[in-house]
Amino acid sequence: MDLSFNPKNSDLIERAKALAKDALAPRAAGYDREGRFPRESFDDLIREGFTCLTLPEDLGGRDLFADPVSYVMVLHEIAKGCTNTAMLLHMHNAITHFLVTLGTQAQKERLASLVRAGKIIASYGGESGTSSQWNRQLDTRAKRTGEGYLINGEKVFCSMAGEADYYTVWCQLGEDPDVRKSLSLLLAPADDPGFTINKKWNAYAMRGTVSHGILIENVKVPADALFGEGGDPLRPDIIPKFGLGYAAVYLGAGAAALDWAVAYARKRKLKPDNLPIATYQPIQRQLGEMKVALEQALLMIQRAAWTLGTCGPEAAVQPISAAKYTAAEASALITDKAIKVAGGPGMMRDYPLERLHREARAGLVMPPNSEKCLDITAKTIISGDITWAGTS
């Protein structure tokens, strides 16, 4: 066991921290208030190279998913500045990584050149069906044509709808009803006239992700738009990585709330004592509880990331579920308590706590939600003995 934190890519974590503090944090409230895509912050990320992080090194990237601990800590630092921006960066970086993983050399090179040129890639899997399981039919279907593929369907919760440059469409290709054989990823330029945005994203949190619906009508893509084989998106090295990033992003909201609450408690004085409220034991107790929850969640995330990097994706499925659960619940608890510590300012829009509190609620609900995480963990335990790293 060696918990020293000096990963290969610690330079990126430091840069993420600085960028979050100086550039992203000041804009976070505005994106939330206006419910718009964090364009300026994303431009900063592009300029600083953060949208190329998961490309292979020989294609101009840092291959950051090879070092998952650094990957999650970069996200976590970005999220401390702006949860929305961090979430979208994760979406872009995760799907870029998957496409590169699945693509041919030619596809990889083409994708990398787009990403290096500052193009943003989105990933659309959700449908308005009612199952969280991947064992049902998708409405979105692609069929082979002479030149390539023709896609039709409808997607919901499409982050960066109308803002990304390319949409990665999760769809069933061909006639095989078994999604495990037919689920495919097709990359399409966002300006295809067959995409119509249905502006129904009106959440009370994570508003900057502009996760509208998209109607897909006769979108034509060439043959090299298909990445990997049918069923590849269900590979165990693909989906869990999304969840790992969510954990880091949502914990960022909690970490930012704790920072703010501590700073506030050290400044705020009440009469007649005229002492900072940070000197009161009940306030200290609350701060302590928040701190322990934050540390515990960070360790769970780092452990899951380390497992992913060291023991492979299948071994990491449960640790990732556990990390997502711990992080989302910790962020919910911390933002709750931060508001209690702050009192009135906790509910005022002039201060960040109410926003962070809302964002933490989104963390509880975003798949895999807390119930689902518990379920995955429990099923693993019940079906057999498991030994996770750090539990001897």
Partner: protein
């Protein structure tokens, strides 16, 4: 012991329930989104006679404060539909009750007539005390000038600032520090010269209450709009009534979330199971927890009201404090569980859960905040007093 509804006011509770569903809930989303004062609701509640409920019967009211448990239940039911409206309804109902209680017969008749004419009364009391101990100090002062008074000062969290027809100011006569001698209620029409609104209310919840700050600069109030004796506003049969109602209002946000999510869970089906998600054990268990907590908290609120009505506010003080804690924590817990059950729709502004959740969170913070409530309850015990009576 009788846990049943008071037959004298059973009709009001039933009507409140109906209004919440048919009148308040449909507009609540918009008031919240647009951050608008719920004017249409007040007009409708006035038409239905609800804005006059706390006036004495001889002035055309129902004397609803004679049974605070029923009063709280009416508030709770209204709040199931719209927390903002219930809160403002409570402010107006309490202050017109107080004006008729403390005022001369002439004043009581005059203000009651205004209420029946649809006029809205706001009550402004908060100042920037920043005291841990909650001792009230008034910066707002009045001085005599001929047969009227000149008021200067500043108030915070003034519900219905810019929206009410009359502002009732809690104001201290100059040259007398002792609030128990110098504090009076001043009633002034909203269009009196000298009122200025500082629109700094920018909360993530309860935005429809328009609780901005107000500045009074040489506001003139004639002598016959000064109500009661010195110190009356902090009489134990006056002051606690304001705080008492918050419990019912905020618990109502929990009740609204509960109703919505139970309905949702009974209708929502997932493939491939195709049964209502309410039948999944983790969800049915959560529904059970919510319902039991809701009932327990409502009983705490009603008990506090019953004590206040039968034994006076002093005897009810501990119970009011405990009810505030139970109601606010329960409402917050329920709205949080409801969001988890609903998943995506829990976060969407098109659905009311996120609104109830934000409103409930405000209940935790509104003074006395829930940590403070616990400390007060514990302090009472530690000092060897019973706190809330064992009824």
């Amino acid at each position: 012991m009788d846990f049943g509804v008071n037959p004298k006011y059973g009709d009001l509770i039933e009507r409140a329930k109906r209004y919440a569903k048919d009148m308040l809930a449909p507009r609540a989303q918009e008031y919240d989104r647009e951050e608008k004062f719920p004017r249409e609701n007040f007009a409708d509640l006035h038409r239905e006679g609800f804005t006059a409920l706390t006036l004495p019967e001889h002035l055309g009211g129902r004397d609803l404060y004679s049974d605070p448990a029923s009063y709280a239940t009416v508030l709770y039911e209204l709040s199931n539909g719209c927390t903002n409206t219930a809160m403002l309804f409570h402010m107006q109902s309490s202050i017109i009750h107080v004006l008729s209680l403390l005022g001369t017969e002439e004043q009581a008749v005059r203000y009651a007539r205004a209420v029946h004419d649809g006029k809205i009364f706001a009550s402004h009391a908060s100042e920037n005390t920043s005291s841990l101990h909650g001792k009230m100090v008034m910066d707002t002062h009045a001085r005599r000038a001929g047969d009227q008074y000149i008021v200067n000062g500043r108030k915070y969290f003034c519900s219905m600032a810019g929206e009410a027809d009359y502002y009732v100011l809690w104001c201290q006569m100059e040259d007398e520090e002792d609030l128990s001698k110098s504090l009076y209620l001043f009633v002034a029409p909203a269009d009196a010269p000298g009122f200025r609104i500082d629109r700094e209310w920018n909360s993530f919840a309860m935005q429809g209450t328009a609780s901005h700050s107000m500045i009074y600069e040489d506001v003139e109030v004639p002598e016959n709009d000064i109500v009661g004796e010195g110190g009356d506003p902090i009489r134990p049969d006056v002051l606690p009534k304001f705080g008492f109602g918050y419990s019912a209002v905020y618990l109502g946000a929990g009740g609204g979330a509960y109703d919505w999510v139970v309905d949702y869970a009974k209708n929502r089906r997932l493939q491939p199971d195709n049964v209502p998600i309410a039948t999944y054990p983790p969800i049915s268990r959560a529904i059970g927890e919510m319902k039991i907590a809701l009932d327990g908290a409502l009983l705490m609120v009603q008990r506090a009201g019953w004590l206040m009505g039968t034994r006076g506010a002093a005897a009810a003080y501990g119970a009011i404090n405990e009810a505030k804690y139970a109601a606010a924590e329960t409402a917050a817990m329920i709205t949080e569980k409801a969001i988890k059950i609903a998943g995506g729709p829990g976060l969407m502004r098109d659905f009311p859960l996120q609104r109830f959740h934000r409103d409930a969170r405000a209940g935790l913070i509104m003074p006395p905040n829930t940590e403070k409530c616990l400390e007060l309850a514990g302090k009472t015990l530690a000092e060897g007093k019973a706190g809330a009576l064992m009824t």
